[in-house]
Symmetry: D2
Subunit: 303 residues, 4 copies
C-alpha cells in the first residue's frame, strides 16, 4: 500500500477544514499558533515512517502526554492505579467536577484532567520526577533527545490554572493525592507543555502498535498492558466524543488541545496528526477528518 501517497493526499484534502473551529486560547501561548498548520505522520510497526505537511514542526502535546504517564505507571506497578481511578468513559465534559463529587474523589478515567492528576501523582511517588520520567520515555522512544518542556506554556498554565488547582485540591480533600498539591500541579503542567512534532509522536507511540515493545526492541509494556492502554484510549481518549471517534475513525486515539491526535492500528502502525483548530469537544477538526480519511483509504480498522 502506498502510505506515503495516502498521507500526501490527506494533507490536500483537509485544507478546506483548516479554518473551521477555533485554536485553543485559554492560555496566550497556545492561541498564537496559526490555524493553517497541518501535519501527519505514520510510523509502521516494522520500521518505515511516512509524513506530510508540517509533520516535523513541534507543537504543544498537552493531554496526549496522559497516555505516556499512564503507560509509565502501568509499567511500574500495573494494576494498583485502578484503585484510585476508574476506567469508564466520562459522559460529561472533560474538566467537570460533578462526577468527582458523585464518586467520592475517584476520577472517572485516567484521561480526564482529574484522573491524569492522580496518575501524575502516582508517577511522582514512583519516580520522584513525573514530568522528567515522561520526557525521558518520549525522548528514548522517539529518538529525539532535544524534545523538551515549553517553559512559557507551563508557566502560563500555572498562572491560568485555577480550574486544575481546584481539581487537585478536591482530590486532596478526598485523600486521593500522595504528594503536595502544588508539586503535582507543577509536574502536570510540565508534562502537558512538552513540545513534539507529529514525527516525534508517531515514533514515541509505536510501542502501543507493537504490543509493548520499545524502540530499543525490549519490552516496555507486556502485550496485555499495551492492549489495555489501547482499550482505555478507545473508550476514554477523546474527551466526551469517544463514541463519535470510535464510530468515525474506529481506532484507539488520544487528543490534546494543542491540536494533536495520536491513533493506533494495533499490530500495524501508529499515526500522529496535528491541526490546531478545535471542534466543540476539544478535538482537532482537521485531525479527526484526516484520521477518518486514513482509515477509509487504508481499510485499517479494529472493527
Amino acid at each position: 500500500m502506498d502510505v506515503q501517497g495516502i498521507v500526501e493526499d490527506i494533507v490536500s484534502e483537509v485544507q478546506p477544514l483548516l479554518g473551521l473551529g477555533a485554536v485553543a486560547s485559554y492560555i496566550p501561548s497556545l492561541g498564537d499558533v496559526p490555524a493553517e498548520n497541518f501535519g501527519v505522520c505514520v510510523a509502521m510497526s516494522d520500521g518505515p515512517v511516512y509524513g506530510a505537511g508540517q509533520w516535523q514542526q513541534p507543537f504543544s502535546i498537552q493531554s496526549i502526554s496522559k497516555v505516556y504517564s499512564l503507560a509509565l505507571v502501568m509499567s511500574y506497578d500495573y494494576d494498583s492505579i485502578w484503585k484510585r481511578v476508574f476506567r469508564e468513559p466520562s459522559g460529561t465534559p472533560f474538566n467537570s467536577m460533578v462526577q468527582l463529587e458523585a464518586d467520592n474523589g475517584i476520577p472517572r478515567n485516567p484521561f480526564i484532567n482529574a484522573g491524569a492528576l492522580v496518575v501524575t501523582d502516582r508517577l511522582l511517588t514512583l519516580t520522584g520526577d513525573a514530568a522528567g520520567a515522561v520526557r525521558g520515555l518520549l525522548r528514548s522512544e522517539s529518538g529525539n533527545q532535544e524534545l523538551d518542556f515549553d517553559a512559557a506554556v507551563a508557566a502560563s498554565e500555572a498562572e491560568h490554572g485555577h480550574r486544575n488547582s481546584a481539581m487537585a485540591h478536591l482530590l486532596a480533600s478526598y485523600g486521593n493525592l500522595e504528594n503536595p498539591v502544588d508539586l503535582v500541579l507543577e509536574n502536570y503542567f510540565k508534562q502537558c507543555a512538552l513540545r513534539m512534532s507529529c514525527e516525534d509522536l508517531a515514533l514515541a507511540s509505536r510501542f502501543l502498535a507493537r504490543h509493548g515493545v520499545s524502540a530499543g526492541g525490549t519490552p516496555f509494556l507486556t502485550p496485555n498492558q499495551a492492549k489495555r492502554v489501547n482499550a482505555v484510549m478507545l473508550t476514554c481518549g477523546t474527551y466526551d466524543a469517544a463514541g463519535e471517534f470510535a464510530y468515525r475513525v474506529g481506532l484507539p486515539g488520544k487528543s490534546g488541545v494543542g491540536g494533536g491526535i495520536v491513533a493506533i492500528v494495533p499490530g500495524r502502525c501508529s499515526v500522529a496528526v496535528w491541526g490546531p483548530s478545535l471542534g466543540p469537544n476539544g478535538n482537532s477538526v482537521a485531525g479527526i477528518a484526516a484520521l477518518d480519511a486514513f482509515t477509509t483509504r487504508t481499510g485499517w480498522s479494529i472493527f
Copy 2:
C-alpha cells in the same frame, strides 16, 4: 486452534462463579431461571460452530435485541437515526432520566433504554411491526424458524414497566417519538422478550463478524455499517461498564439482563455466552469471565 477444546475448558473454569451475583428478578419470570446454567457458542466467520454447556437452551435475550433493531434501522436509512439519538457512552446507570433531561430528549446512545425506545419507534415507522422485523431478522440469520417472543415475559415487562413508560412519555414530551407511546412500548417489550439459545445468538450475530454479509451470503449491512455497529457496541454495549469490558475483554459486546452476552471478533467469529447471574452493572458475571478467558486463550483481540 482447538476452539472446541477452549470452549469446553471455559465451561469448567467458570463453574465456581455461577453462584456469584444475582439473577435479575424485577419481573417474576426472569427470576425463575436457575443460576447454575451456563453456555457458550462460537460461530466462525467461515462456517464452523463450536459450543459447550447449555449452549442450545433458550433464554430471554432482553437488551441484546437492541443490536438487531439498530442494525435493521441502519440497513433501511443508515444515518438519519443519529439525529434522534447520540452515540456516546452514557457515564450513568442505564435507565437514568437525568441525561435525557440535560440533553433535551436526545438519548445518549441506542443501547440505553431511552435510545432503544427511539430506535424501536423508528423501526416501527419503517416496517409497521418493529418486534416482528427483529424476530424475522433473527430467524433468518440463525436459521431457527422456531425462535419467538415469550408472551409471559412481555406481559410481565408491561405490567412492571412504569420506568420504561416514564421514559417513553418523557421522550414523547420532547417530540422524540413518531408513534403512540403504548405501541412503542409494546414493540419494545416484545423484542426484549425474544427467547434464543447461545447457538441462535452466535449464528444470528455472525453478520457483524463478516462485514455485514448475511447468512444467505448477500449483504445485509455494508462493511462500513457493520464496522460502525461494532464501534457502538464497544463504547456503549455493556451499560456503564463499557470501559471495564473493553479493558478486560477487548471486544465489541452487548449484554442483556437475561444473562446473555454477544461479542464480536471482526473478521473472525461471533461469540455468545449465557450465565443468568448478574454483577452490579447488570452484566453476567460468568459471561464476562468466560469472554475474558476466551480472548486470553485465543489471543484474539481488536487491540
Copy 3:
C-alpha cells in the same frame, strides 16, 4: 390604613409591566388569555374585602390548587404525608426528574409537580375524589358555589401531559403512588383546571391568615397546621424563585402558570393577584411587582 386606595394604586402602577414576559402557552387554552388583564384582591382576617382591576374575573388557578390539596391532606392525617414527600426547596426547575431519581422517588416538596401528584394520590385515597374535595373546599371557603373545573383546560392538559405522565409513572416505579397512574393524573389535571377569580382565591385562602379558622368560623386546620402550610409556601411556593420571592415580597406565597399568586400575611389578611404574563421562573411578572408594592406600601411583612 386605606387598603382600597393601595390596591387601586397598585393596579395603576403595574400597567407598564403587563406586556413583559409571556403568557403560558404549553396548552392552547391558557395561551388565549389577554396579557392586559390584571386584578388584585385583599381579604382581611376580620372581614373587609378590597379589590381592584379584573379582580372578579375567573382564570385558571393551576398550581395554586396545590396549597388546598396539601391543606386537605394535612387536615385528614396531618403528618403521614411527609413520609412520601420532602418539604425542602427544590433548587432545580419545577418539573425536573433529576431530583426524583436522586432521592429514590421521594419528591422534594409538595408544590413541585411530582410532590403534588403524591399529595393528590393521597387525597384520592382519603376521599375517593381528590379533585372534588379540592373544589368543595374552595366553594365553601370562597362562598362561590359556582366555581368549577374548566373541562377544556383539563382535557388539554391530559392531551399535552406527557411530562406529567412520565413523572407519575416514575413515582409508580418507586412504589410512591397508591392509586392507578391514570386516575391520579385525571384528578391532578382537574384540580389544576379550576377557574377562580382573585376574589374567590383571597376569600378561599383566608383560613391561612386566620390560623386555620374556616369561613364558617370553625377550625379547618389547627393553628400549628396552618402555620406549617405557610412555612412550606414560603420556602417552596414559587418554583425555584422562592428565595427571590422571600427577598422581594417577604410573605408566604403560591403561584400558578395561569398568572395567579396567593400570598398570606399571617394574622392579618390574604392577598390574591392575577396577571397572565409570566417571567422566566413561571411566576406572574406583574403579580410579583404588585405584591412587592403591597408589602412596601403597607409595611406588612413577616420579617
Copy 4:
C-alpha cells in the same frame, strides 16, 4: 411572659438529646468540645436578656459568621453583591461544587461556602480586612471587646481546607473573586474561627430583630435591608434543611458546625442556642429542638 422560666425549662428538656448526633470533627480542635454542653440566650428588642445553661461559654461560631459578613457588605453597597451570588436555597449539600459549575461560577446563595467566599472577597475589597471588619461589628454589637479569632482553629481550617481551597480556585476560574485566592481563604477561615458565647451572639444579632438599629441606637442597616437579611436566613440559613427548619421552627435562622444557631423573631427578640452535637444536615440537634420548644412555648412565629 416568663422568658427566663422558659429558657430554663428548655435547658432541662433538651438534656436527653445532648448525646444524639455527632460533634463536628473534620478539624481536631472542633472535635474536642464535650457534647454535654448546652446554652441558650434570648435578647429582647427592648432590652432584657435571658440565659440558661452554658450561655456565657464561648464556642466556635463557624458559618454563623456569614450573616454578619453579608450584613456588612449590604451596609456598604447594598445590592451590588447580588450580581455575584444568587439568593436561592441550594437544594444540594452545602459544600457541593455541582451547582457552581451548572451556574457558571455564581454561587446559589451567600450562606453556602462558595457564596460566603464571594461575600468575604467583596468585604475584603471594601474594607481591606474582612475578618477584622466582622470582628469589629460583633464586638461593638455584643459589647464584648474581648471576643476574638481562635488562631488554632483558623490554622487547622487552613491545613484541612482542601475543599474550600478547591471552591475558591473554582470561583477564581470563573472570574468571581476580586482578591487573591489565598487572601480570601485566610479571611474566611479567620471569620469562621471567631469564638463567642450565646450571650455574645444574641446581643450581636439583635439589630436584625430591631429593623437594623445597632446596639448604639443608630441605624446599621435600613429596615428594608434588615428584613432582607432575615429573608435570606429563612430560605438559606440552615444548609439543605431550610424547609425543615421553617416547618418546625418557623423563624429566620443561621447555624454553624460549632453547634450554634441564631434565630430572629422580627420586632421582638434574637435567640442564640448552642449544642455541639450535629444531625445529618450539620445543624445542632439539641439547638433545633430548643428553638422548636421556644416557639411552641412562646407562640412567637412569623407564620
